[in-house]
Symmetry: C2
DNA sequence: ATTTTTAGTGTAATAAGTACACCCTTTAGT
DNA sequence: ACTAAAGGGTGTACTTATTACACTAAAAAT
């Protein structure tokens, strides 16, 4: 029964999606921001956003909008929070569903980003952002911090093959604190969710460091065994 | 600039709020549900919901709708998740922002509830619910479980004065598992967020059990001391 | 005085977390 | 060919937290 609407008398709203896009580069957690090309606040830094389509669900809207910016699909995307202050957008009443995304910066299609004058900013050095976007970013960082301790989401920010040092640097960047190397390795390896490859990375050291990848099968096995992922 | 809207061409949506209302009674976690009085799905069990008003923010909408059902204000209310499948409501496209509430069943205005044929159901014995409400309930329970371990939200479900046994029963109801009495007391008392009153409860035992209340000041002191609330 | 019912407490064993320092491997420079 | 430099990789002792577990206390009802 498409088009049916018995709620016609009720107030209707623009509904948008905004994306907080995290990346990891230069040993720092980074955010992909765009320069607004239209009023209000043309030329201000902003999260990437867009309106939800008529027959589109929210996840799809977020992933479409993210795809427009990054050229990527099948990206880790999670709904964060919905913002609905009546005056949050000076252009009109817009209810915005915020999502955060974790992307591998090496896979980014930078041409797509160029169309929006997109740029990466380290999270501890963000520019001024429009509207209520600072609050969204803040909440996203907190969510990512909490989540990364109990779910293996961090791997979404690394290339498929990575060294343990790099993984540690990622956790240090997310949590903004130093982690003891031995304890970290002990912990992560004891969970048995990584597979060591027969391959070394020789870029960042003379000696070379073993490359690992996250192993879904091992992870699923761990979970069905009643254990859970946890980094302290 | 009220009424301004530069986004007129974009699609507009009905936006609703649905409330998952938790209570604690009979040593069980309960949910307050209403019987729908209108189509679609008249007479089905449902969460309490309603549309967001033109100049109303989402939190206020949730609290207004919750007030209509319970007669209460200043209730613990937290945004849960936003549901936007195009066909989630057969009456038309409605994007729904779900909130969950924790209320003290003893404070409930049951007359208000009567107008909606509201009834409490223990969470392990819920009736069939309309639309995507089962998923909302599920998510709310999981959120409450997680949250109750790391934030002192459980107290919102108890009367101001309570015994340690009752507090323990509450945690057992939320987590659906038995908890060791000695360990639980040791834990909760060691955090020093309760104040023991000079008063005993003699309803549930001959000997009488000390009454406690949650103490915001002690809690704030603990938090600013860098500690955090945690139940295992 | 005995029974019943819930309240309230301590300790020992185990597991988890933390702190900490040295050797390994390779390559670049002399 | 020796040495220095730069990350890579590992083990252990100590401390803290978690778990498991069983009895006594107080009051009221009979």
């Amino acid at each position: 029964m498409p088009g049916r609407d018995i709620y016609q008398e009720s107030e209707k709203f623009n509904v948008a999606v905004d994306c907080i896009v995290f990346g990891f580069d230069d040993d720092r957690l980074q955010l992909l921001l765009i320069k607004r090309m239209f009023e209000p606040c043309r030329d201000c830094w902003s999260l990437m956003g867009g309106f939800v389509g008529k027959n589109e669900n929210l996840d799809n809207a977020a992933s479409r909008i993210l795809g427009r910016l990054t050229g990527l699909k099948d990206v880790y995307l999670e709904q964060l929070y919905t913002y609905g202050e009546p005056d949050r957008d000076p252009g009109g009443r817009v209810i915005s569903v915020a999502y955060y995304a974790l992307i591998r910066t090496d896979r980014l299609d930078s041409e797509a980003g160029d169309r929006y004058s997109a740029r990466w900013f380290p999270i501890d050095n963000l520019p001024k952002l429009v509207f209520d976007h600072p609050g969204m970013v803040d909440k996203a960082i907190k969510r990512l911090r909490r989540k990364s301790l109990i779910q293996p989401v961090g791997f979404e920010l690394l290339p498929e093959k990575f060294t343990l040092t790099r993984l540690q640097k990622l956790y240090e960047a997310i949590h903004q604190r130093d982690i003891d190397k031995r304890n970290f390795r002990k912990r992560i390896l004891s969970m048995n969710v990584l597979t060591r490859l027969d391959e070394k990375d020789r870029i960042s050291s003379r000696r070379g460091a073993w490359l690992y990848r996250f192993d879904d099968i091992k992870y699923d096995r761990m979970i069905s065994g009643g254990d859970h992922f946890e980094i302290k």
